[in-house]
Every structure is written in C-alpha cells, then in structure tokens.
Amino acid sequence: MATLLMIGTSKGLFLARRDQAGQPWDVSVPQFPMTGIYAVGIDRRGSQPRLLAAVDSSHFGPSVAVSDDLGAGWREPDHAPIAFPADTETSLARVWAFADGGDQSPGVVWAGTQPSALFKSVDGGETFELVRSLWDHPHRTQWAAGLGGQAIHTILPHPADPDRILVAMSTGGVYRTTDGGQSWNPGNVGIKAYFMPDQWPEFGQCVHKVARDPVNPERLYAQNHHGVYRSEDDGATWTSIADGLPSDFGFAMVAHPSRADTIWNFPLQADAVRFPPDFKCQVFRSQDAGKSWQPQSAGLPDGPFYPAVLRDAMCTDSADPAGVYFGTRNGEVFASADEGENWESVVSNLPDVLCVRAITL
C-alpha cells in the first residue's frame, strides 16, 4: 500500500512517498521553493485525489495551487483564487487551512485564512468566495491575534450533515453553523481563556486545533492554548481531558481515521516554555476519548529534544492500522505505520515543518 506524505515547510513543499511500509521513503526536491507552505489539503472524492497547497511568498503574496497528478504538476488560476472583496478593504495575508465539503457536497472545498475568514469553493478549490455571514459576524472586530497571526486554522464539516460546519480560530475560539453557513454561533462553553480577565468568555479563546471523531461525529477533541478538551455535542460544550498528559499546552490534535475515541497530540511544557516536557520527544495517544493517555516514543530520538510540533504538523493516513506522522520545527519528519507504537524518521534537515498530510494510495 503506497503512501504519499505532503510536507509543508517554511521554504517549500516536499513530497515523501513509499510503496509500502518498511521500504525507504523517496523525498522530492522542494516544490515552490522559498515559499511558506502553511496549509496542504487532500481531496479524495474525485477519481483522482486532488492536492491543494497554500503557497505563501513573502515577496509576491499568497496563492493556492492544485495538482491532480499527486504533485507531478501544479497549476494556479490567472486571478487570485482567494481574495477579499473590495468593500472589505482587507487583503489576504495567508491561507491556513483546507477542508473538503464531504461526499454530500461534491466540489465544495473550504479554506480558512488570515485574517480570520472562511472561504468557499464550489469548483474543487480552484476559485473561492468569502463566506459573508461569518465575516459580518458582530464578534469579528473583537477576534484577536495569536503569535502566529489571526487566522481560521480549523474547518470541520459534519460528515453526515452538510449544513453543520465547525471552524476554530486563534484567537476567537470555536464557531459553528447548523444552517449551512447562514448563521454562526460561538461554541466555547467550558474552554478556559486564562489570559483574559474573564476566564470563561463566550468567545475569545485561543483554540489551537480541533479534531472530529470518525465514528461519533458529535464528539470533538480540542488542543487549546493551555487546556485539552472533548465535546460530546458537536462543539456546544467542552470538558477537560488534560488529566494524564504531562502538560495541557501544545498545538496538534489528530483523530484516528476510522476508529472511535483514538487521538494523538504532542504536548509542550507551557506557553512560556515551548519545549517538549522533560525535553523528551514523545507523542501521547488516548484510546478512550481522552480519559487516559499513554506516551509513545519507541524509535523517536532518545536524547534531549527541543523542537516543537506545530498545529498542522501532525496527521494520520487512512490505512488500517493507521499511519501517524509528525514534523518538527527543526525539519525532521517521523512516521509510524502502527498507530504510534513504533516510529521511524522519514527525512531530516528540512526547513521547519509547518504542516503534514498523508494519503494512502
């Protein structure tokens, strides 16, 4: 079973491929060299998987490229695929997230941007339009910026109900629609914002990443800016699942592609101490929806380990058992073909890894 791993870095996109587990990875030269690849997407719905890449040139601005041949060739439209309308007096700074609209919405692809906005494509991600209802939300002027900027970084359409979509932003928190995007409401009850005078606000939380359970789609898992949470009601309310983790800080949160209650994250010590706890390279997995956590480090570096893992720099593939992948800010990517039990290095000495996404071919 072949696997293609897209590795977005601060200086281009690398494609790692191997024909089956146990074989060495073949890693490409950088595509879009000297651009930041802050988001990649894989749309598996067509006859050929479509790859999307957010290509961010510090000189020449952001754009989106798509490939229908697994990255052999990429194309971009003449006109900016994601652009703010003139009346918003706003310019796109960066694309942070892609999500396909699910099987019930063929052709629909969502994009999350900086500044915080949601864009919708109905042509598979070649051209997008601003979702006005969220842009016009009265809370928008109070959404603030995190260290990485103010952005929508998470988009989770409900797999069974195309009218229900969850987005998350830093800062601002979780917002949900149940009417196909006509109206949006915050969904942050139970998520603490320790950095605000009111620590339990309606919105303003710094949610770092949200993952949806593949079997029980009402169940969600969130890694917050301090705080790890689970929701049982599609993001309306949240309860802590941080007990058992060495720290409740971190960025990544990924769910198993097909099995319930199984999630991974990569804790960091604290907001002000962004190193792995005890300087140890460890992934944490829960198989009971966050009630308990187990470290996984077999095959990961033994010695002191300082790099962080960013919010989109961890992913799973769709294999069974699931492959798990993560990339670090010092340019190393690790893979596990057995759900985190054993790890190996895919590639090292890349630029800092911003995002990874894998597809089982």
């Binding site: 510090s58 000189h59 020449f60 754009s63 971009e76 900016a80 003139a86």
Partner: protein, 227 residues
Amino acid sequence: MSVTILVPGALRTESGGASSLTVPAGATLRDVFESVDAQWPRLGRRLRDEQGQLRRFVNVYIDGEDCRGLSGLDSPVRDGAEVQILPSVAGGADFTAAQGNEVLAANFAPWVLDLGLVVEEVGADFAVLRLPWSDKLAREGGALSGQALMAAADTATVIAISSARGGFGPMTTVQLSCSFQRPVVGADVLLTARLTKLGRSMAFATIDCVASGAVVGHATTVYAILG
C-alpha cells in the same frame, strides 16, 4: 507611446519568460499596473494585493527612482519610462508587534520607557501603541501632560517606520507638531501612527490619539532616515 517593465528572474514564469514587457504608457504607475493586470494577471497579482496595494516587499523603480520615495502608485510615469521591479532583500522580514516592543526596549531613553508604551499592532505602513494611564503622567489639574503625549506620538512614528522597513534602523526626528484637543483623565491613549510617505531618506507620518473612544490629540512628524 509605451512603457518598458523590467521583470525580475523570480517572476518570469508569469511573463512567459520575458525579462521585459512593453505596455501602453499611462499617466501613473497605477495605470501601468492595470495594463499589467489586463495582460498578465498572474504577474499583476504577485505585485499588488487584491485591494490594489503594492506588496510590501516588492520594490518598483521608475527611471531609477523608488516609487515609494515619489508618490507610490500615484507616481507619474512618462512616455518611454523604464519601470523596474525588484524583490526587496528585506522580503520575509515580517515585523510583528512583539518585535515592535523589542525595538522599544532596545532603542529608547529610560524616561521614554517609563511611559510604559506597548506596541499593540503593526502593519505595512502603521503602528498602534498604547500609552497606559498613570498618575505620574498627570500635570496640575489631573490630566495627561502634553509632553507625555508628544513623546508617545514621536515613539509611535519610530515603530511605524520600523514596521514599514522590516526592522529598526537609525533615524531622527526632524519635526514634530501636536495639537491637544481634549484632556485625558484616567484613561489609556491609543496612538495610531500612519506613514503618509516613506522615502529613502525621509518619512512623514500622522498620528491619531484616541482615549475612551474620543480623539484627544493629533500629531504630525517628519523623520530623517540615517544610513
């Protein structure tokens, strides 16, 4: 009646490989870019964002003069002119509010630091600073002293210029004028310094000072950029 555009190597994929393009002459640089947008839209969007603003790290020289030292996109372009596009070597130096606070901490006199200024936001041509209320800054009568507001406006200009240039460099105030429109009592002041012109050796800024939602003062500054 035409203008020649020199395309840098990094952008020639968008110009069909051509290192120079000829477009019809226009009155201003904006007109020239609109011709580019019409003929080479992918080149056009690499140079300007969707609101028509020149991207921060794209430099454009009209007959050898940096357009930012002229009138930006409103700069006149003569018939036969050469418009050269060059990527800035500062490209990628995203200047953040956190860096603005580092510039503050590293470059100002101790008594200015005592004002407690905080850089709240920076952009390609602006900076927003907060002057927190302190009883120590009050003059007789209990209102904020004008000297404090002037120092804050002066400082905000330095942060705005640093943001526009991607980092701090030596500069000095040439002129500062401030009007005080309302007294400030017990409230923070938000100062938004916006560059109206940034040339190679001079910068001009206007600074709006707002407290409790009302404009309390307005300043203009002229800076000399050294070295």
